[in-house]
């Protein structure tokens, strides 16, 4: 098993190395090596994941202990030792399924999508590096390795957002993502330091055990645990783009669409969720931090959903929906529904990957046009894309029996039953909003009248097979995975896999397993109704259907709605302008921060450098003055000796006569 897990890491990094070295020579054939590596890695990953999930040796026990080993001792520094250790348990396995599968499909998809790009080999090299980093992230068995992988995926994200670096907006977006992530990473690294100083180890299992013992022994104040939890959560906020560090993710859509699908929807942005779930023993000891997690999550969910209402860029709609869904996951973690959050992570990884790849296919079809106002009526022109996107959107909206329904309802149900009524209420509203903006997107893109540029309209074409196959596979996964893992509700396979892992945390939090009951049925029905309502609203306002079965868009209703809702214009402007967060940050950090920076620069140049330069000036002047006594004449020096002798003797005598 060691070999397999090591191979899982070795394949992508070897693919990266080989492609980076010789990829340029291979030209259009550059995809063979990296895609081959990832497909193999996928197979290996599946073997590892399923042997973990089914409790094969060396994974001892039925869904029990994980399996860890150390590749080598990385930092042996006295008391401070860090192994390059890998660890696989059921949580890792669940992540492996998503990362490997979506990663593999995105690689295949990219063969077609990036076909005409001059940076073909570079793209695949980066993708492979990303796969390595992401796998290292989920396999890491201690905070430091996790942090290294954390930074590596950040680096890949930066490289891939800025893939078309000649485009100024892409370069700026890459920089923005990198810098905003640094804010979170600062908190995360402080959290890691705090873990080290309190328990003296960075290994997950040892650290959690040590922390529990310390708390039991009363050696650790509750506020310290809360502090550690919040610092770690800061890292998650940055990586998973939660409020207030959410601003980078929408801009990250400047990168190629497969990147958006893989990194900014299905895998990397989930790293924060994974990390908080991994650190659940810490969070379980800090209920206040859990409340913060839930609050931040659900606030991001509704904030992002409200912005997604009015975006016209198809990828931005999806980006905001990703933010919103990540918010759901954090809300789930915060209310103690760890399993449900990871479940949502898995399902979201599939259906959001599908939606992004679908949007890529759409963009490909209409010649790199991302503005939905210049689409419309595409359903019959690109039927494969349309069908798969429809599946994704229904899943996203939470319509049973598709994937999104199961996981989202588990989060909402847990929130309700664990007493977080506000979280539930907001999440409930967001469920409706999600359905609405998803079908607004579908309406604008696929249904209604065509608004495509006439020059382009004639050349609209379905994507090649290499792109269609991943779409179909992901759509199939989206259809089945929810029911496969989540049925029966609150007792599905995913619970069998993950619940034992989170049991201690649930006990600490005082949460009890309740059988699925009448209340849950009511909640499920209510949220499905809400989703249907949102869907129906979107269909009514933006139209639906193609050919004979069609509901035309009712523009009059739109106007009437705007007129009837008080403050609608304000809300609309707020949504279009993303609640002015970018402007606020511009003011706070660019304008005011820039002023502060200029002031500090003045201080540095005048006071700090000034004092240093002043010392140098004094020294130079003193040297110039003292140079006079360096005559080079031996007798002057001898005079110094004689006078020194006199002085010494005088001092000696003074001591003698005192």
């Amino acid at each position: 098993m060691e070999t397999l897990v090591t191979l899982l890491l070795a394949l992508p990094i070897a693919g990266f190395g080989a492609t980076a070295l010789v990829g340029r020579r291979l030209g259009r054939q550059a995809f063979w090596l990296p895609v081959g590596a990832i497909v193999t890695a996928w197979a290996v990953g599946m073997v590892v994941a399923f042997s973990a999930l089914t409790g094969q040796p060396p994974f001892t026990g039925e869904h029990g202990q994980g399996f860890g080993f150390s590749l080598y001792r990385w930092i042996p520094a006295g008391d401070f030792t860090v192994d390059l250790g890998l660890y696989v348990d059921n949580l890792t396995a669940a992540l492996l399924i998503v990362v490997c599968t979506v990663g593999m499909l995105v690689h295949v998809y990219s063969i077609g999508y990036m076909e005409h790009d001059p940076g073909y080999w570079r793209f695949f090299a980066y993708l492979n590096l990303f796969m390595f980093s992401m796998l290292l992230l989920v396999l890491a068995d201690n905070f430091l390795v996790l942090f290294v992988a954390w930074e590596l995926v950040g680096l890949c994200s930066y490289l891939l957002i800025g893939f078309w670096y000649k485009r100024r907006s892409a370069a700026l977006a890459a920089k923005k993502a990198f810098i905003v992530n640094r804010v979170g990473d600062l908190g995360f690294s402080l959290g890691i330091f705090a873990v080290w100083t309190t328990v003296g180890t960075l290994n997950f299992q040892d650290a959690f055990r040590g922390l529990d013992q310390k708390i039991a022994a009363g050696a650790l104040e509750p506020w310290m645990v809360t502090g550690i939890a919040l610092l770690i959560f800061t890292g998650a906020v940055g990586k998973s783009a939660q409020f207030p560090l959410h601003v980078w993710l929408p801009d990250a859509m400047e990168g190629p669409t497969p990147v958006s699908a893989l990194i900014h929807a299905a895998t990397m942005v989930n790293a924060g969720v994974y990390m908080v779930a991994r650190a659940n023993p810490i969070f379980a000891q800090a209920p206040e931090a859990m409340v913060v997690v839930a609050g931040v999550g659900i606030f991001t969910a509704i904030l992002a959903a409200s912005i997604a209402f009015t975006q016209n860029d198809i990828k931005r709609v999806l980006a905001y929906s990703t933010l919103s869904q990540l918010g759901y996951m954090f809300a789930g973690l915060g209310v103690g529904a760890f399993t449900a959050a990871i479940f949502h992570l898995v399902t979201h990884g599939f259906f959001k990957g599908l939606l992004f790849l679908g949007s890529g296919s759409v963009i490909h079809a209409v010649h790199e046009e991302q503005d939905m106002r210049k689409m419309g009526g595409l359903a019959r022109r690109i039927p494969w894309t349309y069908a798969t996107m429809l599946v994704g959107s229904l899943a996203m909206a939470g319509i049973p029996p598709l994937a999104g329904f199961f996981s989202k309802d588990e989060i909402l149900g847990s929130a309700f039953r664990n007493g977080f009524l506000v979280v539930w209420a907001v999440g409930f509203v967001v469920a409706g909003m999600s359905a609405f903006y998803m079908f607004r997107m579908m309406g604008l893109t696929f249904w209604g009248e065509s608004r495509v540029d006439p020059h382009v309209a004639a050349k609209i074409h379905e994507s090649p097979w290499s792109m269609r196959v991943p779409l179909v596979l992901l759509a199939a996964a989206t259809v089945v995975i929810g029911a496969l893992l989540g049925w029966p509700l609150e007792g599905g396979t995913i619970h069998a896999w993950l619940d034992p892992l989170f049991e201690p945390a649930r006990e600490l939090l005082g949460l009890e397993h309740e059988a699925f009951g009448g209340l849950d049925v009511a909640l499920v029905l209510a949220s499905v109704a809400m989703a249907t309502l949102g869907l129906a609203g979107a269909v009514r306002l933006f139209g639906a259907g193609a050919g004979r079965f069609r509901w035309p868009a009712r523009l009059a209703d739109r106007d009437a709605l705007v007129a009837s809702v008080p403050g609608a214009r304000f809300l609309y402007r707020a949504s279009v302008n993303k609640w002015w967060f970018d402007d606020l940050y511009h003011l706070l950090f660019v304008v005011i921060g820039g002023r502060a920076g200029a002031a500090l620069r003045w201080f540095d140049e005048r006071i700090v450098d000034g004092s240093v330069n002043g010392i140098a000036t004094v020294t130079v002047a003193a040297g110039r003055g003292l140079r006079v006594i360096q005559t080079g004449r031996v007798q002057n020096y001898a005079m110094g000796i004689a006078l020194g002798l006199v002085a010494l003797t005088l001092a000696y005598l003074a001591g003698l006569f005192r």
Binding site: Q635, N636, M639, A642, L643, L645, V646, T649, L650, L653, L656
Partner: protein, 181 residues
């Protein structure tokens, strides 16, 4: 004719007279060495100074040192110095400026230094000293020199050899360099 036990008229011991005389010659010659304008004269005065010092050694009961003083200093080193003087005298004649600009500081420093010596000598409480001069027996000296001090003695011999070789090497004219020296 017998020599009186004390100096006539003054009533001093002969040794005291000898000491005063030698000390006077010694210091006077030394002063002339450092103050004299003509460097050749300085060299000659130095020979006198060394000779007087040899007398002082004899007075101190160290005849071998006195003889060595005459041989080494009056005989060898002084001649060496005189040769060097002659080799380096430029044809411009004696230099007008004998003293350095810092001469007055040097004078003050040496006077202060002498004053300090006086204080040290006056204040110094030397232990175990004899009232009379102890004479050095030459045979004992030879025994000591060639037993206990044989290694330093040989070392000094090597040093002298090295000094001679070094002196020759330094003073030798470079083959490629002309010049009238």
């Amino acid at each position: 004719m017998t020599i009186p036990a004390t100096v006539p008229v003054l009533g001093w011991a002969w040794d005291d007279l000898l000491f005063l005389g030698l000390a006077g010659i010694l210091l006077g010659a030394a002063l002339l060495v450092v103050l004299g304008r003509d460097i050749i004269h300085s060299g000659l005065w130095m020979m006198l100074c060394f000779g007087a010092l040899a007398g002082v050694y004899a007075l101190l009961g160290a005849p071998l040192v006195a003889v060595a003083q005459v041989l080494v200093y009056v005989g060898a080193i002084s001649v060496l110095v005189l040769f060097a003087i002659m080799l380096t005298q430029s044809k411009a004649g004696p230099l007008r400026l004998v003293f350095h600009r810092q001469a007055w500081v040097a004078a003050i420093a040496s006077i202060v230094l002498f004053a300090l010596f006086v204080v040290v000598v006056a204040e110094g409480d030397w232990p175990q000293r004899a009232a009379e001069v102890t004479r050095t027996a030459t045979d004992q000296l030879a025994r000591l020199l060639f037993n206990d001090y044989v290694l330093p003695f040989e070392g000094v011999g090597v040093l002298l050899l090295a000094a001679v070789i070094g002196g020759v090497y330094l003073a030798k004219r470079d083959p490629g360099q002309g010049g009238s020296l």
